[in-house]
Amino acid sequence: MSKLIREALIYMGYRKKINELDKEIYNEIVEILNDIKKTANISYITKDFDIENKNECINLLNSNVKFDSKNLSKLLKDSKKITVAAVTLGIQLDKKIKKFTYTDMSKAVIYDACASAIIEEKCDELENMIINNFPEHFLTNRFSPGYGDLELNNQKKIINLLQTEKKIGLTLTSGNLMIPQKSVTFIVGITEVEKCTSKNKCDRCNAKCEFRVKTRK
């Protein structure tokens, strides 16, 4: 739980130690994390693909999908297989957060941050499940449309490929944003080469973002 709380606090812009946190807010966060876990309709779907990686393009075999991306191509340089995944916390949570923006904005903000923390945790769990499917293999970092040079409109391909609308109720808007809002899609490479992946997820990303956590050296 404490890792989740830490993560939620980062999203809320809290930079100090957890034990300095106002007790009331701490309890509220714990309560909200529990509520989301209990009431959200958390669902996911994954699918494995063999890939061909050439000319800075990832070609998913037995499908009509290609991802043009230098960054993704580099990430998958040692992978012959990938898993494509989608996770969502469901539409009811969106409705709940929206309702709180009218009655209790502070609660809405905490819900929003806690939901983001939970979906990250769910993605980590999913990674563990994926790795179990491939004994003696390793996973690359997760990669999503919108990272680096992989354009956001690639989201359409993933949504279509996994039939997320029908299977987990995940759809896109005309601007390629996901509904429900608390949703994540990602691609992860399966490799035989163990890579030194930093425990700090922020080291894997090059976005200039205010939530960035620095690794202590």
């Binding site: 809320m12 812009g13 809290y14 930079r15 100090k16 106002d22 807010i25 509220e28 309709n41 669902s43 699918k47 494995d48 693909f49 998913l60 037995n62 499908s63 009509n64 999908v65 469901g90 539409i91 969106d94 409705k95 957060i97 929206k98 309702k99 923006t101 009218y102 009655t103 209790d104 904005m105 502070s106 609660k107 809405a108 903000v109 905490i110 929003d112 919108g146 956001l152 359409k156 391909k157 279509n160 490929l161 609308e165 029908k166 987990i168 109720g169 759809t171 896109l172 808007t173 005309s174 601007g175 390629n176 944003l177 509904i179 809002q181 976005a207 200039k208 973002c209 205010e210 939530f211």
Partner: protein, 804 residues
């Protein structure tokens, strides 16, 4: 002549099984549009149809699941060609088969984008998308429409309207549910059936979902509530991944066993979904075809719904919240006039928290475009609340538009005994499958005697039934007159309720609070009348759920009339409440005291974020001070302290927001007070806020809004996904030169730039503030904003500067 609707009345009818399962087996790749095969591999599609015909199915489903404008554009295909060829494939197969009456169902899957307010697809666009498919399908020669695997009942409503308004083809609808017993957008079986029952479709049911076993309890529920023939198309078991291919774990015999169980329950129309093939259908037809049809008992309760909640009227007393009606409410009037939707929503949420079962929505003000505002309020309320609504207007167009864009089965308020009203309103209730409330008045006014009011009620019910509205969808309001002016007629109302209940057998509604106008201690009169009316047969009072004493009458009546079985609800509500006298002041012990047992002052309350307590204290303070004094001497200094603590990181975001919201609660009281005494408002200046086009994340903008409001500034909140043109229009219309734009995604920074350009072109001297997770000073300069605001507090500083 072949007539599918006649057929389903008398015998079991069989659809085909899956199309995709076959296509995957024959090499369709992931991500490819199966609809393309209608053009490039017709033989394959015809062959699959033929297999199903040989297996004995009656209805072929065209290979057009995703053949809508959005998906086909993506796949670079033409909707008209795809659908026409799909129908041709089915026709050719039927020709080849040449044995008996066979039908072609135009397959209509979900669009792929969600409709507003959940998504950003307009309801009218969803309508047009379906309309296009339906018209092409009809022209190509399909016999019926099959809306299937539908996930969102609101999108389905748009589709059904497109069907009903443009063709006479029979309409079959199935939705898919997940293991929580709801669709992914939150609709449960009862809400789905309630809505579809009277909406003019021919067959309803379930398809896909998870496994057939898990579908049995859901189909039982469909049958329990349905007035229509029921169909089912389950998957061939639960999906399992084997070597990255999806397989289903039911063999054909097991599948048919479950289907037989469902026919015994009353299902009439059968077919298969994912994983089923011609073997499943063959065995299904063999086993079921000659079985005797099981008749189902038709449900005739009076029930209304939203997309996810149903309310049955007539089983226990249901409360219709009356607060969203501007008559006599200055603050709500002001909110409606100024487009302050937040206040409206807060009033709605409050009533639901106070246990209103249904909310009345009335936006009748002469200066408003009533139909437009009605639709807006309904959509906004439904985006956060699940209670069904009563659409209340004297404006026919507002009622029609309200019923059209409402998500679910609404209650229309109202029709009356006048010819004009009967002719205009009843067809709306019929078309949209709503319930309708009839008022017992006609051209001669409200009759004094109960008997005459009963006669008008009878006329309304008869006329409704005549045009095809089921009697249970009509409710009657015998009209409450004020005891101060028409004392003798109060009892006539009660007599009329009794007559209507006993002789017409329809449910009754009364606007209870009217009775006490002009008398002191109104609540006493109201609650006494309420108890008397319930005893006369009132089913649903329209009242203020904020009145504890009236709500307690309802709770007690539900016990005494044996509606509240074993008094469970009553005990839950009242076992822990100490009765001191008649009125309970729930928080009296804890109010306004800090740790030392002393009263907090307003400043302290704001810093602590005590939102519940601040209201009482503000009312208290108003006895001694005027509103502006309170704002300048108490509120602003407190906010400054909170802001300072935030800057120093002594408190963080949720705490800062709590303080701001506490201030806004106090402001609400102050604003109401000012409105009551004059027509002025607290006005330090106004800012337009918007989350830019294509961006749907508006929590950041909402935080800014709360904080900016707490400093006394007004906000024109345009919401999220806002078109640049709308931003400019709002600024010009309200004569505002300062705007705050929010964007969360790198991709939407581009639309932010477009918005800024358009603002500058139209309003060269505008001050443009920008903020959002991906922005920084550098970006902000690059896209031409006036200021970058790194936080909500920072935004306030910029706004202050502007209005100095």
């Amino acid at each position: 002549m072949k007539d599918i609707l006649k057929k389903i009345k008398y015998e079991y009818t069989f659809f085909d099984g899956a199309m995709g399962t076959f296509l995957q087996k024959t090499g369709l790749k992931d991500g490819e549009a199966p609809e393309e095969l209608n053009i490039i591999n017709k033989e394959l599609i015809e062959e699959i149809h033929l297999k199903y015909l040989n297996a004995g199915c009656d209805i072929l489903t065209t290979n057009t699941f995703g053949a809508n404008r959005l998906k086909m554009t993506e796949a670079k295909l033409d909707v008209e060609i795809v659908i026409t060829e799909a129908v041709n494939c089915a026709k050719n197969a039927i020709k080849t088969h040449n044995n008996g009456d066979k039908y072609i169902a135009l397959d209509l899957g979900p669009i792929g984008q969600l409709v507003e307010p959940v998504g950003n697809l307009k309801f009218d666009d969803a309508y047009e998308i379906y309309k296009e498919q339906i018209l092409i399908g009809e022209k190509a020669g399909c016999d019926l429409l099959l809306f299937e695997t539908q996930l969102d009942i609101y999108e389905l409503k748009a589709g059904i309207l497109a069907a009903k308004e443009n063709t006479d083809l029979p309409i079959f609808c199935t939705m898919t549910f997940d293991d929580s017993g709801r669709t992914v957008t939150g609709t449960d079986v009862e809400s789905m059936v309630t809505f579809l029952n009277d909406f003019g479709v021919d067959v309803i049911g379930l398809n896909c979902s998870f496994g057939p076993n898990e579908m049995v309890p859901l189909i039982k529920e469909v049958l329990k509530y349905s007035k229509l023939p029921v169909m089912v198309q389950p998957n061939a078991g639960l999906p399992k991944i084997q070597k990255s291919i999806t397989v289903y774990d039911f063999r054909a015999d097991e599948f048919v066993d479950i289907m037989e169980e469902m026919t015994d329950m009353g299902v009439r129309i059968l077919g298969g979904c994912c994983g089923t093939d011609d073997e499943y259908i063959l065995k299904l037809v063999e086993r079921i075809k000659n079985k005797k049809i099981k008749e189902i008992k038709v449900n005739s309760k009076t029930v209304i719904s939203s997309n996810s909640q149903t309310v049955v009227i007539g089983e226990d007393i249901k409360v219709i919240g009356e607060r969203l009606n501007p008559t006599g409410k200055k603050r709500l009037k002001h909110a409606l006039k100024t487009g302050d939707i937040d206040y409206v929503l807060k009033e709605g949420i409050k009533q639901v928290d106070q246990r209103a079962d249904i909310l009345d929505i009335n936006v009748g003000l002469p200066e408003l475009n009533e139909p437009e505002v009605m639709v807006k309020v309904i959509k906004e309320v439904q985006s956060i609340l699940s209670v069904p609504l009563q659409i209340d207007s004297a404006n026919v167009e507002a009622l029609e538009k309200g019923a059209r864009y409402y998500n679910g089965k609404a209650l229309i308020n109202s029709v009356n005994g006048k010819e004009e009203s009967l002719n205009e309103i009843l067809p709306i209730a019929k078309k949209y499958g709503c319930c309708v409330l009839g008022l017992t008045l006609d051209d001669t006014g409200i009759p004094k005697e109960a008997k005459k009011r009963y006669e008008i009620a009878k006329k309304i019910v008869d006329r409704a039934v005549e045009i095809g509205i089921p009697k249970e969808n009509v409710l009657i309001d015998c009209l409450v007159l004020t005891a101060s002016a028409q004392q003798k007629e109060v009892n006539e109302t009660l007599k009329a309720v009794k007559l209507v209940k006993e002789n017409l057998g329809v449910k009754t509604v009364l606007g209870v609070s009217n009775v006490s106008f002009g008398l002191p201690n109104r609540d006493l009169i109201n609650r006494t009348f309420l108890a008397m009316a319930i005893n006369s047969g009132l089913d649903a009072p329209i009242m203020n759920p904020g009145s504890d004493s009236m709500m307690s009458i309802v709770d007690a009546a539900n016990v005494l009339l044996a509606n509240d079985v074993n008094s469970e609800k009553y005990i839950e509500l009242y076992s822990n409440i100490k009765i001191t006298d008649n009125v309970q002041n729930k928080n009296s012990d804890i109010i306004n005291k800090n740790d030392d047992g002393n009263k907090d002052d307003l400043r302290e309350m704001i810093l602590k974020g005590l939102q519940n307590e601040v209201v009482d204290l503000t009312i208290e303070l108003l006895k001694e001070k005027d509103p502006l004094e309170i704002i300048n001497n108490e509120i602003i200094p407190a906010l400054d302290i909170a802001g300072e603590r935030y800057e120093k990181q002594e408190i963080f975001l949720p705490q800062l927001i709590k303080s701001a919201e506490t201030v806004n609660k106090a402001f609400d009281i102050l604003k109401t007070r000012i409105l009551e005494s004059s027509d002025e408002t607290i006005d330090k200046g106004t800012i337009v806020l918007a989350t830019v086009k294509n961006d749907i994340h508006d929590i950041g903008k909402n935080i800014v809004k709360v904080i900016v409001q707490s400093y006394g500034y007004n906000v024109v909140d345009l919401g999220k996904d806002v078109d640049p043109k709308k931003v400019v229009e709002a600024m010009i219309e309200n004569d505002i030169k300062i705007v705050g734009l929010s964007a969360l995604m790198t991709t939407t920074v581009k639309t932010m730039e477009d918005t800024i350009k358009l603002i500058k072109k139209n309003i060269p001297d505008a001050t443009i503030l920008v903020g959002g997770a991906v922005l920084n000073k550098e970006y902000s300069d690059m896209i031409g904003a006036t200021y970058y605001c790194r936080s909500a507090k920072d935004t306030v500083e910029k706004v202050k500067k502007f209005y100095i």
